[in-house]
């Protein structure tokens, strides 16, 4: 079996996870369906899915730890090692790639200076190539944590990353709060549907 990183859950973290578990249990007829939402919740708290997180999820969803590990490896959004505080996902699929995406990829590679999914030395950034993220009409597109950025140019991305370094916004939707941290919502979303 692959080597899993250890990171025990604190009493307080367990309590929050248990509350979340109770809240979503009633939404599913069977416990097994809770495995993925719980993995997301653990990853939010810990920054990645640890050995202890897998055991916790297995117990709660009445699955074996091996089954939960299988989920954590099959689904690419689960990380078994920490990524940067800001995980930058650049779309590499056709509509983006041939519309400036290629240049963005080169830029991000240099900016983070590490292989995919490996955090920068200051732990702030990591990057990953992803497949079409449903913004082909506003290509090229980049996701930073949970926040989508559209029609991105190298110049705009450079400024954006500088701003992120300075202001350290969350850019995450929390399962515990069900809310986007409001910061950065001023960056334009879908310019797609504005009438002529």
């Amino acid at each position: 079996m692959m080597e899993l990183l250890s990171r025990p859950l604190s009493v307080e973290e367990k309590q929050r996870l248990n509350e979340y578990f109770l809240r979503i249990s009633s939404q599913y007829p069977e416990k097994q369906s809770l495995a993925m939402p719980l993995l997301f919740a653990c990853q939010e708290l810990l920054g990645f899915v640890s050995k202890e997180a897998i055991e916790f999820v297995a117990e709660k969803s009445e699955l074996s730890p091996a089954h939960v590990l299988e989920l954590a490896t099959f689904y690419t959004m689960f990380h078994l090692k920490p990524v940067g505080k800001y995980h930058i996902q650049v779309c590499r699929t056709a509509s983006c790639f041939f519309c400036g995406g290629q240049e963005l990829i080169e830029f991000i590679k240099g900016f983070v200076g590490k292989d995919q999914l490996v955090p920068s030395d200051d732990g702030l950034f990591s990057w990953e190539l992803v497949e079409c993220i449903g913004s082909c009409g506003t290509a090229p597109a980049v996701l930073i944590n949970d926040r989508l950025f559209e029609c991105v140019t190298v110049e705009a991305l450079k400024n954006l990353l500088e701003r992120i370094k300075r202001e350290r916004p969350e850019l995450k939707l929390s399962v515990f709060r069900d809310d986007f941290s409001a910061d950065f919502l001023d960056y334009p979303f879908s310019r797609i549907l504005k009438n002529d």
Binding site: Y28, P29, P37, T76, C99, V130, C132, G137, D146, N195
Partner: protein, 422 residues
């Protein structure tokens, strides 16, 4: 002059459409109220009359699919909304969910009423966090205002909706992989039969429909199934959303009657082709449908049958246009990498073949291919197509075969390689 026909997108430009009050003010839940006056069987009959076909890719008649659900099986029936939208070139479902979430909720209510389902799921791809958040808020508001939950609007009908996030696997858009994922398993497609309508989620009868399909329901019941059926063509009725990307002046999501002219659609609706670029490749339905050369597009209409006659498919409506600055080989390699990355790994021909295709295409690009490699591509494709559990295998070879056939010059290996392949 081709114009948009905005039915599903009617209110899409209003920023406050996400408020229940505004949704209702603009005609929201009129369709559902009309549905409440019909029996469930009559609702299914109306959907058949409307001619609505699945908008997720396969185009299967929705009313017919619903009628496969056994009556009185003694088991609960589930309605599952497929919001996994990951087909390259497709982004219409995201726009619908982000801008008009109650339209989807109303559509789900109508489906649940027709099928006697009390619990519906929305399986949304994990990357769509903003749409997820909008839907969560909308469901909360609908619950508080009596549009979801127990005894909706005093009708005795009860429906709850659970949103489930995917976690980055394209294959979970395939309906049986989606069901496995919802059950807390890897997204491996299931062998059919049994079909989900009989044995789906948790072994119970299940109907899976795409976001756009469900969003069409409130529109159909509000305007009347016969009226809706007057739109479009004989066999492709109603309107369809296209997600347009690439070298057009105004990329975006557009809704047109099925059967409009392809070139006219580009010129009149999408603002035409951008200056100084010559159009070369049109892919009308997402990466899994065959590509058309620009000259093949002449006279083609955008509906299920015409596109099929033209040798391609309507698919998800992911409409991509590429210019002569893009080599068909590069595009082919890009798509091949997508499929190699997204193959779930269950079937050997798909898992291995997809990687082999990437290897050979990459060699072609690096000009290190061997004579015979083009034939080898063909052979690998024949080894994959039709030999996998789900249609992913067919989807993966489609762009390769069509691009190779239609743009042979871009795949030329005539660069003086003399060595013989091992």
């Amino acid at each position: 002059m081709i114009k948009e026909t905005r039915l599903l997108l009617k209110n899409i430009t209003y920023d406050d459409q996400k408020c229940l009050e505004k949704y209702i003010e603009r005609g929201g839940f009129r369709g559902f109220r009309k549905v409440l006056e019909l029996s469930p069987d009559q609702v299914i009959e109306h959907v058949k009359v409307s001619g609505l076909r699945g908008r997720g890719g396969a185009g299967f008649p929705t009313g017919l699919k619903w009628s496969f659900v056994p009556k009185n099986s003694g088991k609960p029936v589930y309605v599952v909304c497929n919001a996994d939208e990951s087909e390259p070139g497709t982004f219409k479902d995201r726009i619908l969910m982000e801008r008009d979430p109650f339209l989807l909720i109303e559509g789900i209510l109508i489906a649940c009423y027709a099928l006697g389902s009390k619990l519906a799921f929305i399986y949304i791809r994990g990357e769509y966090q903003y749409a997820y958040k909008v839907l969560l808020d909308a469901i909360k508001e609908a619950n508080q205002s009596g549009y979801l939950g127990d005894n909706i609007l005093g009708s005795g009908v009860s429906v709850n909706i659970t949103i489930h996030r995917g976690a980055g696997a394209y294959i979970c858009g395939e309906e049986t992989a989606l069901l496995n994922s919802l059950e807390g398993k890897k997204g491996y497609p299931r062998i059919k039969p049994p079909f989900p309508a009989v044995k789906g989620l948790y072994g119970c009868p299940t109907v899976i429909n795409n976001v756009e399909t469900l969003c069409a329901l409130p529109v159909i019941f509000d305007m009347g199934a016969e009226e809706y059926a007057k739109l479009g063509t004989e066999k492709s009725k109603g309107t369809k959303l296209f997600s347009v990307s690439g070298i057009v002046c105004k990329p975006g999501v557009y809704e047109v009657e099925l059967g409009v002219d392809l070139i006219g659609f580009i010129n009149d609706v999408c603002g035409g082709i951008i200056e100084n670029v010559t159009p070369k490749i049109v892919i009308p339905g997402g990466s899994s449908v065959p590509a058309l050369t620009w000259s093949e597009c002449e006279g083609v209409k955008l509906d299920y049958e015409s596109l099929q006659n033209a040798g391609t498919m309507l698919g998800s409506g992911g409409f991509m246009v590429f210019g002569d600055n893009v080599s068909a080989l590069d595009l082919c390699l890009n798509f091949a990498k997508f499929y190699a990355h997204e193959s779930c790994g269950q079937c050997t021909p798909c898992r291995e073949g997809a990687k082999w295709l990437v290897d050979i295409l990459q060699k072609l690009k690096n000009k290190t291919a061997y004579p015979g490699d083009l034939e080898r591509i063909q052979a690998i494709c024949s080894g994959i197509a039709g030999h996998t559990i789900c249609p992913f295998g067919d989807a993966l070879v489609t762009p390769v075969i069509s691009l190779l056939k239609k743009f042979p010059d871009d795949f030329s290996i005539d660069y003086g390689v003399t060595s013989v392949s091992p």
